[in-house]
Symmetry: C2
Subunit: 451 residues, 2 copies
């Protein structure tokens, strides 16, 4: 497909323009950037030759829709992606500014490069290329692109739940995951769910002097420490009553396949995670720990004094952002109720606690025998020239659960990111050979599906 | 002494002007305010009639000095106070702005009102009044006022340690503590020491996505929780090996005297500390816990994401500000070494820890039979018309240890603050009747000392 080769420079320039928009959905001051990014995607769909390229307004950031339904009798694929990105902080750790895309070697560095603007653009360009070269698509296609993936995605959930005809499809295709290793075609069949919220702890009615009152005053920061420590032990076992009861262990076959993956634990520790030691439940392998076990992490703590120097304050209030990752078959609402009960039980004397949900998503597991999954494995194998491997991901893509629940369709997670892409961290990047090959693989997928 | 009555309005206006200077020593952007405050005090000493009113420059904020040495054969008293104040945050909890003093009822509200500008001004006005009305003082007096009490006080420590003749005195007098109850003359004979520092915890080389790496990645915030919980148990017992070995218990006589103090535990809980429950070591009374037991408190935690919404980050680094209060006969350096060893032992796998000292101060206990203490008790009794009580304070006044160590002189802690003055917290205030009566009591003290 020389068309795809010939247009690489243009693809890259378009991606750079997309990456320059700081469409950070968790920060309300970027609302205008969110809108610019949604319009950028809409225009891209229109230019690709899709019909009805439009913004769908509602509660939250606009969805972007486009369709091509000229293949009667053929299946309909729903392409999903997101145009919003994570905040870039800590800014000082970026080698180049997060919203000024920079090429270094074969990588493009920018916030959103891999998660998910680069991968979203793969979908748009695949469809554009097929329409430009053949004048039609082998199957029917809808695009449904959201702008709240990093902050809860309530708008798309409501839209999908509404039964709108624009969501009618036989399978979803999502480019928002990674290849297990460079040049190893990969389909992700399992995702963790999540419960993310804020723990608010209140002690005295007012801040207190730690000299005058230290010894009798409850300290909400120390209380957060007590609670976190009660929820998870030093070896990474979650100690929330009932929490792990529904965890479905991987099958023996799956565990065997994982052992055959090109995974070097020492290399993973040193080059990818970059830690002195991999931690967590010692009775499970590292891949099991990130793919098939729940977690509990604190993401940030406020309260008291964090400026320069010393302030001897016992704060009246403190807050911790906490998330737990869930695996099949944990239920997010039940898991959250168990978490909140455990927090209440662990709260030390003298403080009151309150939990505020930020978002929840269900875990998912897809059958590797599904025809849409098998077709994807074939298209990837043909493009990369290697057998496709099936993996899981420790991350959460809430939309997969939403499609499953409301549309009853499988999601094919064909990802082109790499493990060292620094998602959600400074110096996020996307490997450009994967960008170009991804476009061809997605185009090939539609051809395979079209028969 | 009608002079002291007649000049009240002027005293108040001067105090207000002093309180309007935001001389926050922990924030470097207030360096100019620190200088203005030091000059304000110097001018005040000069106006009071002291000789050699001058700034002593050195490493850090200037000291303010003044002297009157016209009473040969009489003792020399060294008056100490500080012109710097704590930061005012959280600003939104102040009823009136912290640096715009406001009178409400008989109280003046402003940052520094009680700690220590109001009390420092008592010393200046007492001397001014005596010189104005008698033309001389009954004893020799030196003032040594610092501007780093809230941030470590290294300059005054170096100056006192240097053996400068301006520090030569028979006793120090410090107005920086509180009365046990309104209208109850009080001398504080014991202070807690402190070790205050920052715990720096490092996990991975870079921030990590909590989905992709949650389960194998060490989380420095969870590690801080582990460490804090290991250092102190749920009942407030410090679990640092050897830490409490040197703690000197109060004498049976002291404990008896404390029981006779007008102390209502329920009122203290509800109206002063304002908590649902007093916490801490259950085998000690609340007064013992704050006066005679060490503590461990966290004052603030940085790392990760604390903005609006959700960011699923496992931070590479996190920091906790931690202090421990010490009691006689704990040694700050030994206690800090024990703390650091316990932190290292408690650090979970996969993280590295580093401790950075911010400041240290020794605890102190003064003999109630000391002649300077007895004279103070008599002056207070005569001014307030009630027997003086001896208490301790849970706070730390590092200079007391410095005077003890380098000058070998006792410190008389004659305080005029009240327990609900909101030191180091929003809505700090000073009770004006104590301000006026304090001036008279200090003047009377000099007369008693002069014989």
């Amino acid at each position: 497909m020389s068309y795809f080769e010939d247009n690489r420079d243009r693809y890259l320039e378009e991606l750079k323009a997309f990456l320059r928009i700081p469409s950070i959905s968790t920060l309300s001051e970027h609302a205008a950037d969110i809108r610019r990014a949604s319009e950028f995607v809409r225009a891209g769909l229109e230019k690709a030759g899709l019909e009805r390229a439009e913004l769908i307004e509602g509660d939250g950031n606009p969805l972007v829709y486009g369709q091509w339904l000229g293949a009667p009798g053929k299946p309909t694929v729903l392409f999903y992606g997101h145009y919003d990105v994570q905040p870039p902080d800590p800014l000082e750790e970026w080698t180049s500014p997060p919203f000024e895309p920079e090429l270094r070697g074969e990588d493009i560095f920018a916030r959103g490069a891999s998660d998910d603007k680069g991968q979203l653009w793969i979908l748009v360009k695949a469809v554009e290329g097929l329409l430009a070269t053949r004048g039609s698509l082998p199957v029917n296609v809808r695009f449904l692109i959201e702008g709240e993936e990093e902050t809860g995605g309530e708008h798309i959930e409501a839209f999908v739940a509404s039964g709108d005809p624009r969501t009618k499809a036989d399978a979803a295709v999502i480019c928002d995951t990674e290849m297990f290793a460079p040049n190893l075609p990969t389909i992700c069949v399992g995702l963790r769910g999540i419960v993310y919220g804020e723990l608010h702890v209140r002690g005295a009615e007012q801040d207190l002097h730690s000299g005058v009152y230290g010894g009798v005053a409850p300290n909400p920061l120390n209380a957060i420490a007590e609670i976190l420590t009660a929820l998870k032990d030093r070896d990474g076992h979650i100690r929330i009553p009932g929490f792990c009861d529904k965890v479905r262990p991987p099958t023996a076959e799956e565990l065997e396949a994982w052992k055959r993956l090109p995974f070097d634990e020492e290399e993973y520790r040193k080059k990818e995670v970059r830690v002195s030691e991999l931690v967590g439940e010692p009775e499970y392998s590292p891949l099991e720990r990130v793919w098939a076990r729940p977690t509990l992490d604190c993401h940030g703590i406020t309260g008291g004094f964090t400026g320069e120097g010393a302030k001897t304050v016992i704060p009246a209030r403190a807050t911790a952002k906490i998330s737990t990752r869930l695996v099949a078959d944990q239920d997010p609402e039940e898991a959250e109720a168990q978490l909140v009960a455990a927090i209440r039980a662990a709260a030390p004397r003298g403080v009151s606690v309150e939990w505020k949900t930020i978002h929840r998503a269900a875990p998912s597991l897809v059958d590797t025998g599904d025809p849409f999954v098998r077709a994807a494995a074939r298209a990837l194998e043909e493009t990369f020239g290697k057998p496709t491997v099936f993996i899981r991901s420790g991350g959460s893509i809430p939309i997969v659960g939403v499609f499953d629940q409301h549309l009853r369709i499988p999601s094919v997670l064909m990802g082109f990111g790499l493990p060292d892409d620094n998602l959600h961290a400074p110096n996020e990047k996307f490997h450009l050979p994967n960008f170009y090959r991804g476009i061809q693989a997605v185009a090939r997928y539609l051809e395979v599906l079209g028969g």
